[in-house]
């Protein structure tokens, strides 16, 4: 009996503890009011907010590895803004970093016991890398429910610690970044995109610790945008770019990335480790060049061979993320990443007697250039060949890319070109929108209630390259069907036949597709009147930016000239044509016209997107035009029986 009583007391006490603990973790009225206030303040789609986020960064020197180590701590107070939220909190790490602590606490600071999972994580587009992720599933059962997330990580070498953002996946009410820089470390904190944000900065000197503390605070930071086709994060979010210049150890200054040359030297040190034994591909180079009449022809043969024969498969494990694979490995494996392909192109060209170099470059997604030496400046490697002092860039990852043409993603970007102990900085030329010209011609006539005729589609530049690549990857037995589907715009009312294409292996001339077509249900006859829908492509109809917050980025500059000529039977006269519309700005020209010419209607669309971007500032005029364009696409041409 005594035992039962004791057990009863124990159970009762335990239950009281649970109730007491629950009282401490359940949201009170203040928490709920806070959640309501934050919900009003931030985007209505945000389900969780961070009330307070503090990031602390300190540095120490590891004598064993002789590296500057980064200690990074993030503490976040999370609150639920909805009735209930279920989220995943995660942090990535890799061979250069280690997560020491990752905890989720209740608001009473007690540990939640949520299970932290740890998995390998392969970034999109890669075959294998050394990234891993630690994550935890967190449920917020009520509005105002709070948790604290604590992360401590160590980056074993300062050069891999490249930037600190203020924005997060969730909106933040108060953000504080504290960086303690010891006096033995020469490190610049470059403030990027601070303009327009009320970021408060404070620097305090700590004489005892021989260091300086930099504190940055910012309030009411919206969550990172999920909008697609947006500029890269380095363009739009305020952040600190970490530029570690040097450190002093035993009075000796050791250079990190003090200037661009130091970054180049490090890259070059990795390249110097390559053996470059080119013997296995000597014969291939010989075969590719022996019948070529000019140097350019030789280069093209090699460049196109790499494009066509080397598949893009990327391994980014440890130093392999920065060091190119041996050219001979890539040649024998027939696959490689951008670095491997660049190096193979370079070595094959050298084998053929050309001056060829490796080139480091950041794609357009990265806002930086080499004036801020840091490992996040670039994310790509290409090759350059120098003929008579002229540099031409070669990017073998761009399949079907002709010699001398450059993908939009690298146009205008600063390239760091190998040059022995030195380097050359040169921008990849920007190509004009004319270069990507698409010309579409429909010649149609009325046959009963159908439109019949022929069409030609001519693609230049990047559109041609993209289409040739897509076609080359379709299964052989499905190619005809896929091409028909593409040309009929996936519209079962359009029947396509007699397709004739230009050489689908020729990447240098424009791609031309000629075909016959019959269109059902484009003509409606009511009594004596006949209504025709003459648009089958409806370019830009879905590009309305009414709700959009960020600039819109196209994959390339565009020039589309589409002409539809409709022959009207003599028994009909043209009653009404839709009104012409146009919009001309520095960034784009958009124009749609209808003209009558005897018994023909000429429907012409001219679209020029000159810089591949629609700026937010232009959204209003763009949207007005877009509304008119959509209306016009919905308008009909009216004919009446004579």
């Amino acid at each position: 009996m005594k035992k039962i009583v004791l057990l009863y007391i124990l159970i009762n006490n335990l239950f009281s503890v649970i109730i007491y603990a629950q009282k401490k973790i359940e949201p009170n009225d203040t928490d709920i009011a806070q959640a309501v206030k934050l919900k009003e303040k931030f985007d209505e789609k945000d389900n969780v907010a961070i009330i307070k986020s503090t990031e602390n960064v300190t540095f120490n020197f590891n004598k064993k590895t002789e590296k500057v180590v980064v200690n990074h701590k993030i503490e976040e107070d999370l609150i639920n803004l909805d009735e209930r939220a279920d989220i995943q909190k995660y942090y990535f790490y890799d061979g250069q970093s280690k997560i020491l602590t990752f905890n989720i606490l209740y608001k009473n600071k007690k540990r939640t016991g949520f299970r932290i999972e740890d998995e390998a994580f392969t970034s999109q587009g890669l075959f294998h890398n050394d990234s891993r992720v630690k994550y935890v599933n967190i449920d917020f059962p009520l509005k105002g429910y709070k948790y604290k997330s604590i992360l401590k990580e160590r980056i074993t070498d300062i050069k891999y610690f490249t930037k600190l953002y203020f924005n997060d996946e969730y909106p933040i009410e108060n953000k504080k970044i504290t960086i303690v820089i010891p006096n033995w470390l020469n490190l610049e904190l470059k403030e990027i995109n601070f303009k327009g944000y009320d970021i408060k900065k404070q620097i305090t000197t700590n004489p005892k610790q021989n260091s300086k503390t930099y504190t940055f605070t910012l309030e009411d930071i919206p969550a990172k945008s999920k909008e697609e086709s947006a500029p890269g994060p380095t363009y739009i979010y305020p952040h600190l770019l970490i530029l570690p210049k040097s450190y002093t150890n035993n009075t000796k200054e050791n250079i990190l990335f003090k200037e661009t040359k130091d970054l180049y030297n490090w890259y070059q040190s990795l390249v110097k480790e390559l053996k470059n034994e080119n013997e296995p591909f000597k014969n291939t180079v010989l075969d590719l060049t022996k019948n070529a009449k000019t140097d350019v022809e030789k280069i093209k043969n090699i460049y196109y061979w790499v494009q066509d024969n080397i598949r893009y498969i990327a391994f980014e494990d440890g130093i392999a993320g920065f060091k190119p694979d041996e050219a001979v490995n890539v040649f024998q494996k027939k696959y490689g990443d951008c670095k491997g392909m660049a190096n193979l192109t370079k070595q094959m060209l050298i084998e053929a007697g050309f001056d060829s170099r490796l080139v480091w470059i950041g794609t357009k997604r990265i806002a930086y250039d080499y004036s801020t030496p840091n490992l996040s400046v670039d994310n790509h490697m290409i090759c350059a060949v120098i003929i008579n002092g002229e540099i031409t860039f070669l990017d073998a990852t761009e399949k079907y890319n002709p010699f001398g043409e450059y993908a939009h993603r690298i146009q205008g970007k600063e390239a760091l070109i190998e040059n022995g102990n030195d380097f050359i900085l040169k921008k990849v030329p920007e190509l004009n929108y004319e270069f990507n010209k698409e010309i579409i011609n429909y010649t149609l006539k009325l046959e009963g209630e159908e439109l019949t005729g022929s069409a030609t589609r001519n693609y230049g530049g990047e559109r041609r390259t993209e289409l040739l690549y897509t076609i080359s990857n379709i299964k052989k037995d499905k190619k005809d069907k896929s091409l028909k589907k593409y040309l009929s715009r996936d519209n079962t009312n359009i029947t396509v036949s007699n397709i004739k294409t230009s050489d689908l292996n020729n990447r240098e001339s424009s791609l031309e597709l000629n075909y016959s077509l019959t269109i059902k249900n484009a003509v409606s006859i009511f009594d004596k009147e006949l209504y025709i829908n003459l648009d089958f492509d409806k370019e830009f109809s879905s590009h309305n930016f009414k709700k959009r917050k960020l600039d819109y980025i196209f994959s390339s500059k565009k020039k589309i000239i589409s002409t539809t000529v409709l022959s009207v039977p003599e028994t009909y006269k043209i009653l009404e044509l839709p009104k012409n519309i146009a919009l001309h700005t520095d960034n784009y020209d958009l124009e749609v016209t209808f003209t009558k010419n005897e018994n023909r209607i000429i429907y012409k669309k001219k679209f020029k997107i000159k810089k591949a971007i629609i700026k937010k500032i232009d959204f209003e005029s763009w949207n007005t035009f877009n509304n008119d364009l959509v209306k016009l696409y919905n308008e009909q041409i009216t004919l009446i029986k004579k």
Binding site: E26, R84, A85, Y335, N473, E576, N634, Q636
Partner: protein, 724 residues
């Protein structure tokens, strides 16, 4: 110490040597001197335009045992000619596991690990063979290895095998997973071989279907080892059209293997076993069905709750009793716990103890049969047990695998009733559409409700006039003539309502309906402690609110998809009737929304309205699919009715009504539409009917007639002409 180290080292070397020996043995088996396909590099002219051609596909199964210890080995080899970049890409990366712990048989921490032997070679166009060094090139990622294939180009042949060695122990009987597959693959196959070997205590069920070659015995040197093979060649690639069940028509095979050490285990194995191991079971007779299930469906279940409920009711007929019992059980053994599952999933509390120490929760179809027949026995109502198989498995005469058996109860009331294992919205007399019209076996019972015999039978089919989806759409143009406001009233009956019920009914829509009907308590009312109750209630309300919000988003997506709309606004969904008590009961709901810039086109002062679009997406059959040489297998006969009312704006007349009147009807189905203008309303009715769930291939042309007509209706337009 040195001695110990030496022993360990020798042991390690012995393991490595054994491993290498095994590896070499496997390699010899596939690629050794007896490999008949070693030099098979050519493909027939007729397949030159394919993406890839499988020169040889070989699948092997081996079952060995020593007492309780089982060694299960499976392997396959493919030798494939890659004819384009797509195929090169397809075979350029592989992932595999080198070692694994079997989850078969008895669990043991000390269990021997399974091993995988994976090898790849490439045969270049000039005949040069290059074997990939898998150990060197594969990268470990968690428990898996990944490999990117080197030097792979168009016109190469890739030849690879995957050998799985899996030892495990089984004290009891063990059933291996069933294999059911067509002989054909995504690429055409030149030669195919399936090889199977087994020792005593392994029972094999194997059947070749639809003209596939037979499994043949091959000579074996060992008395207790039996060997079999199936050879096939010249197999075209898969080309499955819409509405098709491949296993019903395409050359296929089915098999399953069972391990049973003695008669005791044989009896316990739930399978149609042959009399002895050396006989391959390829046909399951109705007597086999009786032998397996006789004794396995004894009426059994605690019926106290049903009896208590029945005391409060007054039934006139057995039919009424059966119907009432079905719906009561659906609630008491299923929907009563739905709230608990939500609470448990949301980690709000551990709720199941609230329902008493041992609440009855019916988990599977066999438990249901036992429980329901226990009720029938108690109330002295005669029944038979239906043994059927889903239509995609082929006919019941081709039954081989016990997992393919579907079981339900046929109640021999004046008008026979069928009862199938319930879901939250199923009804009495609701049979899975995949069983409609199929041949079945009926296990008959004697007066004491024991199974006494078996006979053949057929399950009823359903009627397209009873499986109906009715949609009333009221359309009004907005003031700018740029879009519409849409109000719909939907009612669905028969099998047409099933998927809509599952999409549109949230737990609170039906659980509270059931609580009220049966006087049972909500989960929250089962919690006694006030504070706890308040906490759970708050969190439960929060999770409910989240579920409701998510559902609204999903329904908005559905309506956009139904009418192919880019954007909608002001979406509202109102449930009118759950339709959960009777197959013919109407499931009703209303929806409303607005949209712009679609289905209205300006034509000078006039407007063209794409009115046909309001019957939703229609099936469009491409040219190459218009010829058909296989049967047409649909879900169930059904009718889709639309009643569209468009308010004609003042100052406009309507033209084009005549084009909205269509009538194509034949034995397979129909599309019938009518339209009239009455009191300023354009009133359109359409009816699309699929009269059967199966049509022979010859009827495809007849089906195309009404499918095309419905698709043409979708394209029809009317003109709103301004009165000048």
């Amino acid at each position: 110490m040195k001695y110990k180290l030496l022993i360990a080292l020798l042991f390690f070397i012995a393991i490595i040597t054994a491993q290498n020996k095994k590896e070499q043995e496997i390699k010899d088996y596939f690629w050794g001197s007896n490999d008949a396909f070693k030099n098979a590099n050519e493909i027939p002219e007729k397949w030159k335009n394919e993406s890839a051609v499988i020169i040889y596909k070989n699948i092997n199964y081996s079952y060995n045992k020593f007492g309780k210890k089982v060694t299960y080995k499976t392997s396959f080899r493919k030798r494939i000619k890659l004819l384009d970049k797509n195929a090169v890409e397809e075979f350029s990366k592989f992932s595999f596991r080198k070692k694994f712990k079997s989850n078969r048989g008895d669990y043991s921490y000390w269990q021997k690990k399974g091993k995988v032997f994976f090898a790849i070679k490439i045969i270049k166009e000039d005949g040069k063979e290059i074997e990939i060094d898998v150990d060197k090139e594969a990268i470990k990622e968690e428990d898996d290895y990944k490999i990117a294939i080197s030097n792979l180009e168009v016109n190469d042949i890739i030849d690879y095998y995957y050998y799985n060695y899996e030892p495990f122990k089984s004290h009891d009987e063990y059933t291996f997973e069933a294999e059911e597959r067509t002989l054909s693959d995504v690429y055409p196959i030149m030669d195919f071989k399936l090889y199977l070997e087994s020792e005593n205590d392994f029972f094999i069920n194997f059947k070749s279907l639809n003209g596939a070659p037979q499994l043949k015995k091959v000579p074996s040197q060992k008395r207790n080892l039996r060997k079999y093979e199936l050879l096939a060649s010249d197999i075209p690639k898969n080309n499955f059209p819409i509405w098709f069940y491949p296993l019903a028509e395409v050359p296929s095979l089915k098999f399953q293997v069972y391990f049973a050490r003695s008669g005791k285990f044989e009896n316990r194995t739930i399978a149609f076993l042959s009399e002895e191991e050396k006989i391959i079971k390829s046909n399951v007779s109705k007597e086999d069905v009786l032998a397996l299930y006789n004794g396995r469906f004894r009426p059994y279940g605690h019926l106290g709750d049903v009896i208590k409920y029945f005391k409060t009711q007054n039934f006139k007929t057995d039919e009424e009793k059966v119907i009432a019992a079905y719906y009561y059980m659906r609630h008491y053994y299923l929907t009563r716990f739905v709230e608990a599952f939500i609470v448990s999933d949301a980690k709000i509390m551990e709720p199941f103890m609230l329902y008493g120490a041992t609440p009855v929760f019916i988990k599977n179809k066999k438990q249901f049969i036992k429980h329901f027949t226990a009720f029938l026995k108690d109330y002295k109502i005669d029944y038979e047990i239906v043994i059927g198989t889903k239509r995609y498995n082929g006919n019941i005469k081709d039954l081989l695998i016990e997992e393919n058996v579907e079981v339900l109860v046929k109640i021999k009331t004046k008008n026979p009733l069928y009862a199938q294992f319930f879901g939250p919205h199923t009804n009495i007399n609701q049979i899975s559409p995949l069983l409609h019209g199929t041949d079945i076996y009926l296990l008959t019972t004697n007066e004491r409700h024991k199974i006494k015999g078996v006979k053949k039978g057929v399950l009823p089919n359903s009627d397209y006039k009873k499986n109906v989806s009715n949609k009333e759409i009221n359309l009004e143009l907005n003031t700018e003539f740029s879009g519409f406001s849409v109000d719909t009233h939907n009612n669905l009956t028969g099998y047409c309502k099933i998927s809509d019920q599952s999409d549109r009914l949230l737990f609170h829509d039906y659980v509270y309906e059931d609580y009220e009907k049966y006087g049972t308590k909500k989960l929250i009312d089962l919690i006694r402690k006030k504070k706890r109750k308040a906490k759970v209630e708050k969190e439960f309300n929060a999770v409910t609110s989240k579920i409701k919000k998510n559902q609204k988003k999903e329904l908005e997506k559905q309506v956009k998809n139904e009418f192919k709309l880019n954007n909608i606004k002001d979406y509202k969904h109102t449930l009118i009737n759950t339709g959960r008590y009777g197959l013919d009961a109407k499931f009703e709901y209303d929806e409303s929304f607005t949209f712009k810039d679609q289905y209205i086109k300006k034509a000078g002062a006039n407007y063209i309205i794409e009115i046909g679009r309001f019957i939703g997406g229609q099936i469009e059959i491409e040219d190459e699919k218009r010829q058909r040489n296989v049967g047409i297998y649909m879900t169930y006969p059904r009718t889709f009715n639309y009643h569209i009312k468009l308010k004609i704006p003042n100052g406009y007349t309507v033209s084009g009504i005549d084009k909205l009147i269509k009538n194509v009807a034949n034995n397979t189905g129909a599309f019938i539409s009518n339209a009239k203008l009455e009191n300023g309303i354009l009133d359109i009715t359409t009816s699309k009917q699929y009269k059967h769930n199966y049509e022979p291939k010859e009827n495809w042309k007849l089906m195309l007639l009404f499918l095309d007509e419905a698709n043409q209706f979708k394209n029809e337009k009317i003109l709103l002409k301004k009165i000048l």
